[in-house]
């Protein structure tokens, strides 16, 4: 099919729906992006400051005679680094607050039978309790869970010491962090400190501002996100591999379509239970539907896909298009990456947009507060709302038939299980990353790259993810992915067994032996903490630091502040990180040099920027080969 929209998205489901949206005069993210052009150069370069009421101030670089300092005297380095630091802090806050909610949910599961939550994975709970020095001998599992939850909650604001999960990092990494004074202490405190020091008249030293920001980012990756992931696994189960369907073709004409969109599995897990409630299914049938079809979007979709095989309807840029099908009876959202525009789109159809979190309300949406204390009950109320809306569907329904299949569910535990299959029981230990280390050291695998992050109109939708992944696997580089990158990859078929045909001989061999696809879905954005742990394990096993490993990170289509926090903690953990979109820092040469160069000598990792996926792949591969040379492997 050829139409005007091919140049905006490389996904056929999308451009068919973009056509429909245009015919029905629905405005989408692409229209708004176009209307925004040209975007403001000051903001783009990070040179606009609104941190006090003397402002706004801007630094003019294009002409000699424009202002070179803000009214308070802040120069371009100060302003750009303060803006970046605040973004990083916002991203860290988002992930960390998510982690906090999971910890609360675990606490309710332990203390409050009304909640409907139950601790699923006792083994992981007990091992975390032991890691944290919590008494497990002869203890009731509920008490252990409550103590783990409380200890996790204390990580957010404890007065002394450092984050507990830091201990999981390789020794050399911890030394670097200590030396640089970026070892995170308490999650909220580290974030607050960024806000404090970027207040007018506080920190003006861009390097020092970045130190504070890096600490806040590390408190995300090794704190908030890691708590979110670990406790989610304990509460809802550790993901295991299974095959699922993805893309907007998973919507069903004859069933109640409930799209769950947002981030926190506390809500999606409860909704999942509710949609399986016989009474509600019966009710759906009474309304003339065949059943209730739950599908996921963005990270909360990743969470339930990983754990329960719920179809992945679409990523960030597909949220409006899902409604444009006319077949979504309710879009239930919680927090993060939910476009306020949704309420406008939903108005044009029968779709009910239901917000559930007091942290994220949208004018025009229906707000039905979700309470963790009585999770299942609130979920049932929400599902009922969706079911009752089925009969209000209007004529113009179009569900594109595009969908593809792929394997998801690659938690570290699942990866180690898979690796055990290629060990020799008389020659090798089981339960370690040795086979992965051997595959890398022998050169069969050249390295591994994490492709993560969002969608952004500055990059052709999904192409940044998909083309980069294809180039890498062709060159025997294993790809792991999370977030909206994972959607792009599964939709493009890269998580299927057939994708082995796109791999170099080395990776194809590994995939066949281990029985995995060449692109491994490791979960949601907070699940990038899984990748940190996998890298730590690998580094410890190989007796090196993370910075020595032939690995890289990439965020080809990133857009959110969370992505900035992720990129920053990944770099500070020692990983070379490729961005497909330039961050708003280019107005400060010093800050730009710091991020793309100076940090390399300090942390080992650094940022690189390349929007062309083929070029990005080349750079990443050459970085990987360089690391191999240094290790002489």
């Amino acid at each position: 099919m050829s139409c005007d929209f091919e140049c905006l998205s490389c996904d056929a489901a999308n451009y068919k729906l973009m056509e429909k949206a245009r015919n029905e005069k629905i405005e989408t993210v692409w229209d708004r992006a176009e209307a925004m052009q040209p975007q403001c150069g000051f903001g783009e370069m990070g040179l606009c400051c609104t941190n006090c009421a003397m402002g706004p101030c801007r630094i003019v670089k294009v002409s000699e005679d424009g202002p070179k300092k803000g009214i308070c005297g802040a120069d371009e380095d100060t302003i750009a680094s303060r803006n970046l630091a605040r973004s990083i802090a916002a991203g860290s806050s988002a992930h960390s607050d998510h982690g906090r909610d999971i910890a609360h949910a675990l606490y309710h599961a332990a203390k409050n039978p009304e909640s409907g939550y139950k601790v699923k994975n006792h083994k992981k709970l007990i091992s975390l309790a032991k890691e944290w020095g919590i008494d497990t001998e002869n203890q009731d599992i509920k008490d252990i869970a409550a103590n783990v939850a409380k200890t996790a909650l204390e990580e957010f604001g404890k007065p002394f010491g450092n984050l507990r999960f830091i201990q999981r990092a390789p020794e050399d990494r911890k030394k670097i962090w200590n030396k640089m004074n970026v070892t995170p202490r308490a999650i909220d405190r580290d974030i607050v400190e960024v806000l404090h020091s970027t207040h007018i008249g506080c920190d003006a030293d861009y390097r020092n501002i970045m130190t504070t920001a890096i600490r806040a980012a590390l408190s995300d990756g090794w704190g908030g996100s890691m708590i979110g992931t670990e406790l989610s696994d304990i509460l809802f189960g550790v993901p295991e591999p299974h095959e699922i369907e993805a893309n907007l073709g998973v919507l069903k004409e004859d069933e109640v379509n409930l799209v769950i969109h947002g981030h926190e599995p506390t809500l999606s897990e409860a909704i999942l239970i509710a949609v399986n409630d016989p009474e509600l299914i019966e009710l759906a049938k009474k309304q003339g539907a065949e059943g209730i079809n739950l599908v996921g979007m963005c990270c909360t979709g990743n969470e339930i896909a990983m754990r329960h095989g719920i179809p992945m309807a679409g990523n960030f840029f597909q949220q409006e298009l899902a409604i444009v099908t006319g077949a979504v009876d309710a879009m239930v959202v919680d927090v993060q990456c939910i476009m306020p525009a949704l309420s406008q789109v939903a108005k044009c159809y029968h779709t009910k947009l239901i917000t559930t979190s007091p942290k994220a309300k949208i004018p025009g949406a229906i707000h039905m507060q979700f309470n963790e204390e009585e999770a299942i009950e609130s979920a049932k109320r929400i599902v009922k709302e969706a079911v009752m809306n089925f009969k209000n569907r209007q004529g113009n329904i179009f569900i594109p038939q595009e969908k593809s299949k792929g394997f998801v569910g690659y938690s570290n535990e699942a990866i180690i299980n898979a690796l055990d299959k290629v060990t020799n029981s008389t020659a090798h230990p089981s339960g370690t990353v040795k086979p992965l280390a051997d595959a890398i050291k022998s050169g069969v695998l050249r390295g591994a790259v994490a492709i993560v992050g969002c969608n952004n109109h500055k990059v052709l939708h999904d192409k940044g993810h998909v083309e980069l992944a294809k180039e890498l696997i062709k060159n025997d580089v294993l790809v792991v992915t999370t977030g909206c990158g994972a959607y792009a990859c599964i939709k493009a078929g890269l998580m299927s067994k057939e994708a082995r045909g796109l791999c170099g001989k080395g990776l194809a061999t590994v995939c066949e032996l281990v029985n995995i696809p060449p692109v491994l879905h490791m979960g949601s954005c907070v699940d990038i903490s899984r990748i940190l742990l996998l890298l730590s394990e690998l580094a410890k096993f190989m007796n090196v630091d993370i910075k020595d490993l032939p690995v890289a990170g990439a965020a080809p289509e990133w857009m959110s502040e969370k992505a900035l926090s992720i990129g920053t903690y990944v770099v500070a953990s020692g990983v070379y990180t490729m961005l497909g979109v330039a961050p708003q820092v280019t107005g400060s040469d010093n800050l730009t040099r710091f991020l793309t160069n100076d940090v390399k000598d300090i942390y080992g990792g650094y940022f690189d920027i390349e929007s062309d996926p083929k070029e990005a792949a080349k750079k990443i591969i050459s970085c990987i080969e360089e690391k191999r040379k240094i290790l002489s492997i």
């Binding site: 690796l419 290629v422 060990t423 020799n424 029981s425 008389t426 020659a427 090798h428 086979p435 051997d438 595959a439 050291k441 022998s442 050169g443 069969v444 050249r446 060159n475 025997d476 170099g504 001989k505 080395g506 061999t509 590994v510 032996l513 281990v514 080969e625 191999r628 002489s632 492997i633």
Partner: protein, 314 residues
Amino acid sequence: MTLFDIIFTGSEQALEACKSVLEQTIKEYGENEKVSFPNTAYSLPTIYAATGQKINTLADLKGAIGVIESLIVKEQNLEKALNAGLATAVAAEVIEACKYVGGKNPYEEPCVGFIPDTVIRSLGVPLVTGDIPGVAVVIGEAPTAEDAAKVIKDYQSKGILVTLVGKIIDQAIESKVKMGLEFRVVPLGYDVTSVTHIVSFAIRAALIFGNIKPGDLPELLKYTKERVPAFVNALGPLSELVVSAGAGAIALGFPVITDQDVQEVPMNLIVQKDYDKLVQTSLEARGIKIKITEIPIPVGFAPAFEGERVRKDE
């Protein structure tokens, strides 16, 4: 040196050796001299199976050098490394073929050298039925003759066909291992290159029983991997040449298990230093399950002894 570099180095050494042996042979016999292995319809089986071309004369053999050269591309990836391993296998076949030029029989007791087609045909049935559950290629030298005997006899008792290359042959003789096809212990030769005779065994099995078309290399490699249950035990110090020959084995789908420190490759190149576990490790690596449970009687009780006649002095 990276594992792949070791393989490339070994393959280049094989290529050099092959060139000089061929040059020497041509000097002696002239380009038009015939080249063939005895009692085979498959010319030089490795080259024939890989390229579809039959080699008749030394002049033809010069053409094979180009094949070897084209297989050695020193890029750091598995595909190129496995190709380099195949290059070593082809080079070894050329060197071995030169030994037979002029109608000579270069091998003498106990070594058998080239294995004739009739033997392969007769072993085909027991291989298919699983009466011969596997083919062990033991190369090099065990730390002691006892270790060697222990490993060989263990395979023998399981009905596995054992082929020997290198000093291990002497160790087997020293510990009075019964040898010969009827005992399923077959010493090939002392030079590393004589390993080619078991490679050509596997390849002809693919041509004969798998109906693989000569020249269809991918299908050939698929057949040997899936249907020929061979594996390699590389014992004692490993030269680059042996490692690159090992890569050739891996290309055919045969795992290599060694007692030396090398960089392991999951499922394909495995280190096992414990001689009591070597056999187990090898069988697991090749996915070989022994059909009959072992009967612990003092004399090895297995099909390998079927052909044995009890001599007077025993």
